[in-house]
Amino acid sequence: MRNIGSYNDRIENFDWDIAKEILDWKEGELLNIGAICSDRICDRGDGKKTALIWEGFGDKIARYTFDDLRLYSNGFAQFLSEQGIQPGDRVCIFMDKIPSLYFSFLGILKLGAIAQPLFSAFGDESLEVRLASAGTRAILTTRKHVRKVRKIKDRLPELEKIIVVEGDPDKLKEGEIFFDVENGPVIEEFDAYHSSPETPSVLHYTSGTTGQPKGALHVHNSVWGQALTSSWVLDLQDDDIYWCTADPGWVTGTSYGIIGPWALGITQCVLDSGFTSSRWYKFIQDNRITVWYSAPTAIRALMKDGNELVSTFDLASLRHLASVGEPLNAEAVIWSGEVFNGLQFHDTFWQTETGSMMITNFPGMEIRPGSMGKPFPGIEAAVLDLATHKPLDEYGKVGLIAFRPGWPSMFRQYWKKPDTYRSKFVGASENAMPDELRTNPDLWYVSGDRASIDKDGYYWFVGRDDDVINTGGHLVGPFEIESALVEHEAIAEAAAVGKPDSVNMEVVKAFVTLKPGFEPSDELELDIMNFIRKRLSPLAMPQEIEYRDKLPKTRSGKIVRRYLRAIEWGEEVGDLSSLSDE
């Protein structure tokens, strides 16, 4: 029996309070995600249930119960409190997927502070931009990654605490603090912060077309959206062993790699190791994983390694598969049905800003390979006309995916960027503030993606409505890459666009002009690639660099990315009348 039951019945009888019923949560109870995901599970008698099965590289294995989660998150909350961290302070988590990442995330929320997880592969420049934007007060990291923090700390006056949670304490530098929660004092009781539904909880940074990344701020009330979608879309049930492959540096890794499943008291698995197909299959086999939430890039990489490899593992434990990050192509859906005992991946669509799933393929629903599925019950979705911004009623016509605001997991603001937040809403009045925007049922929140709807209500993804590059399921902003490129000594001007890639959907391609005295060469291309990889991240590294004498520009001197992108995708370049003749 699927948790969702009948999709149509759920649509007709929907109320977000169903999430509270599922969690048996009563009005007046503490609404703090940190406590809901640990203390509350123990209070209901499941303290000895396994919460986390963790495997790292080199056959490292560890298991933790919900009682361990409770104690170790208490430990982090108590320690941070003793360090002077206050409710509302931003605390960055910058580490690989080690157990302390998960404990500290809950501990920060228990304290009432705001968790700011960042992808550990970020280079020092990507890290600096995000810490400076958030005014981050403390960072939790490891010996492996603290070096990047050291490079930038002098330029971050608000960053007061650098806390290293793993490694050799003797190798710390002056001013750094060591804290190993598993060998620290046991904190049986911690009075979790009495958050209101609107108390900020998590700050995730996401990239846009222009400007530096923006911080999407979420609140403790998000748990209802994350828990209900975990129940109805991922179909998580008490005896499931669940694996979300996402890194908590990205929103999937917190909404569905921490909050949703643990609010429901589900056993989760985490694999902190480099990707190889055989390692992933072995992980599923060894841990008898039943529900698997992954990304199209990974699925296509598995597909590339062939059917024979899959057949050498016993994957019979699997019962439900889902996917997120970018559109899952029809071939991958069909392939999964062929090799995973008839199970097809259920594609889900949502964003950092939405906080929880919005349009999805539901368990039990007919999957139309390549389709995003249908809106989650309680979500009013539409495709808006590109010009008028009115909902389209014509099947198959492409428009902007939009949602009526007001769902629990919706982001509450872009950190200190009210104008940017306002720009995401169609129909917003000038000067409307975030609280008015997110509660106004007459507005549309516009996602930035394009789609069409078929006659049966299935949504079909078409592409981004802007220049943001979706590579390996992660959004990368061209502006951030271009800004870093022109810092290279050889580069005069740069444009970054996405080019098609069979595994990652898109990868970054850079077009550059060189300064006098520099000549194009393979060695220079490699040097530029490594320059960006280390400054920003491997995701942002151009996988191809094209040298040009000049870049296409408007008469006002703005580089026209859409022209370059269209060439890469073999599309019509459109109206070029605004381009400069020079």
Binding site: G274, F275, M529, R533, P538
Partner: protein, 82 residues
């Protein structure tokens, strides 16, 4: 072959590891499966090999398994130079 191993190991230590970690990697240390080199960074490692040794590696050959150790990388390069 020994010279090639040394050059590739040095490149990996310089580009993908921090100063203190350089000594921890040997010719048989896993690079991809350990997470030292991720799938995106493999592209720059491939480009280095192609540039340095004037070879062309196909995507089919540049697998995580083939790139997982300095020794396996050298075997791949050696095959092309053969």
């Amino acid at each position: 072959m020994d010279e090639m191993k040394k050059i590739i190991l040095e490149y990996i230590a310089d580009e993908y590891l921090d100063e203190d970690d350089g000594d921890e990697v040997s010719y048989d240390s896993p690079l991809i499966s350990s997470g030292i080199v991720d799938s995106f960074s493999m592209v720059s490692l491939k480009r280095f090999l192609e540039t340095k040794y004037s070879i062309k590696l196909s995507d089919e050959e540049a697998t995580p398994e083939a790139f997982d150790t300095v020794n396996s990388i050298c075997r791949l390069v050696d095959k092309h130079q053969g």
